[in-house]
Amino acid sequence: MTETASTDRGGDDVRLTGISKSYGSFHAVKPLDLTVPEGSFFALLGASGCGKTTTLRMIAGLEDPTTGSVFLGDKDVTGLPPHKRPVNTVFQSYALFPHLDIYENVAFGLRRRGIKSVKKQVGDMLDLVQLGDFAKRKPHQLSGGQQQRVAVARALINHPKVLLLDEPLGALDLKLRRQMQLELKRIQTEVGITFVHVTHDQEEAMTMADTVAVMNAGRVEQLGAPAELYENPQTTFVANFLGTSNLIEADVAEKTGDEVVVTSAGVKLRLPADRLTTQVPDGGRLLVGVRPEKISLGHADDEGSIPAGRNRITGRIVDSSFIGVSTQYVIDSPVCAELEVYAQNIERDGRLVPGAEVVLHWNPAHTFGLDAAQDIDAGVKTVDEEGA
């Protein structure tokens, strides 16, 4: 089968087919198929224990899959040990060799492959990560950010077909992390190598990756471009794990050609039919979602000035927190006890304080509908646990 496929499947895509990993009765990764296009920046996003690192380690060869195969381009590498795979890893703890200086750390892979003249390559690589002056230092004499760059250089110098990054920024403080995100993105653009990046930080995944695969409990929940995932979550887990979503339980009242009308606690809401991820009959239940920043907030006295055709809900402000660029409100409404609204701080309405009666309204096009047979809070708690 691979022979025939080789003609039309050019390049060096990473393909996982039916790959899974079990430890006894625990299924770390459930059978999954995944294709990472050559040259892309691909992120595996999920909470700890979701199987993302195990998936990465199976690509590296550090973990044997229970079932399934790993392909690099046309080549089945499932049976190859890590040192025979054209793949390199940047470890979470960096795993720099403490007994070797930076120069030798970076040269390690080249030397193991019997390459004698490594000087120019090592020099170039250290320049790429801006550590040219540190060649003779030992790893412990470098800061965390510098060690991280050495780990990237040590892997990249081998020109792997794929670079695997296992939470490489997890140990850095926030400011450095932002800086390194841009740095890694720059390097990836410069060298054009496929990057597979494992992270639990949804912002990190969205900032850096072209394609994000959201993993949960050993399976890929949804795969797509960051904006696509954010705007059109397919499951409650994705809706809650990527940013915040307001999910409202509602009943389908009527379905016209391209619009669905639902009711929740007597409130009518409308959403485009193509934003439904599930087929629901009239009278069926649905989870209706809207992102907090899509909602506009107005005082109840101004209700008359709201344009017609918008979804609207009345409620009362329970809590508000000012965070500089925006103010985050928590609203108690008949349809949902804790609706979140993020309002840009452009012209602040002094009447919008806790206790105030308000009207929430938004463009129906920004509403999405999910299958109601899911846990409405999936993915919510995990974000708090990670502190992300």
Binding site: P82, H83, F97, H99, F108, G109, R112, N158
Partner: protein
């Protein structure tokens, strides 16, 4: 008053150091003595006689050679076995691992006389001929615990990710062990080996029980102390102390030079 308060730690440190070094100094000084009788306990006159003829006493250098041989082989045996045991205990999960962990400690905790006597019983029952081999077996046995303890501490602090990184960077199993595992575990292994050598070289009780007619250096010193102590014993002691000190200084110099090279 102020001076005392500021320097009390230094003074205490120096006093402790003196306490530890003083016996060695006495040995050193008396290696240049020319005793009147057979006992080298009173200072008479300065002399280099003993230094010029360290093997001048019958059997002394023979026993010294034997001790060296046993110590070297015991060190090699205990270090190789102990390193493997340490890696197995840290890296692998297997049945009775906990029990083995504590059993390893037992030889260190057990009174030496008890172990010596039981070893002798064992050897006699097996019909083994007492001598070089019985002593070597006994020494490897009690040195093992110390090597395992020293190496284990090092291996435990070692990140297993380092070996994964090596494998990921095209090093096969042998290369990974030689280039990464061994160099990083080396300080622990070296400490274990040094400890094993020192313990084996000066062991008296177990050796005395199991040596048969062989005589090691500590046994020779003990035996001659009954009849009189030749100055050569001090010469040997001083020489060994000097070698040890030189090794430590050498190690420090190499270490500091490396550090200097690393910080331009």
């Amino acid at each position: 008053m102020r001076w005392i308060r500021r320097n009390v730690v230094v003074v205490a440190g120096l006093l402790t150091l003196a306490y530890m070094i003083l016996p060695n100094l006495v040995v050193m000084v008396f290696s240049f003595n020319k005793p009147k009788g057979r006992f080298n306990y009173e200072w008479q006159t300065f002399s280099l006689d003993a230094w010029k003829d360290p093997c001048g006493v019958a059997d002394l250098c023979g026993s010294l050679t034997l001790s060296f041989q046993i110590a070297v082989w015991a060190t090699i045996g205990a270090t190789v076995l102990g390193t493997m045991i340490a890696f197995a205990l840290v890296r692998y999960r297997f049945r009775a691992r906990g029990a083995i962990n504590s059993l390893i400690f037992l030889p260190m905790a057990m009174p030496e006389v008890v172990m010596a006597a039981s070893l002798l019983t064992l050897f006699l029952n097996m019909g083994a001929e007492l001598g070089f081999w019985t002593v070597l077996i006994a020494h490897i046995m009690f040195c093992l615990s110390f090597v395992v303890t020293a190496v284990k501490a090092r291996v435990m602090s070692m990140d297993p990710k380092l070996e994964e990184a090596a494998r990921d960077l095209y090093a096969g199993p042998v290369q990974t062990f030689v280039r990464v595992t061994l160099p990083i575990a080396a300080p622990g292994i070296a400490a274990g080996a040094l400890l094993a050598f020192a313990l084996s070289f000066d062991d008296f009780i177990i050796t005395n029980f199991n040596a048969g007619s062989s005589v090691t250096f500590p046994m020779f010193v003990w035996g001659s102390a009954q009849r009189g102590t030749p100055v050569q014993i001090n010469v040997i002691g001083t020489a060994m102390f000097a070698i040890a000190v030189l090794m430590v200084i050498g190690g420090q110099l190499v270490g500091s030079r490396r550090k200097k090279a690393a910080t331009p």
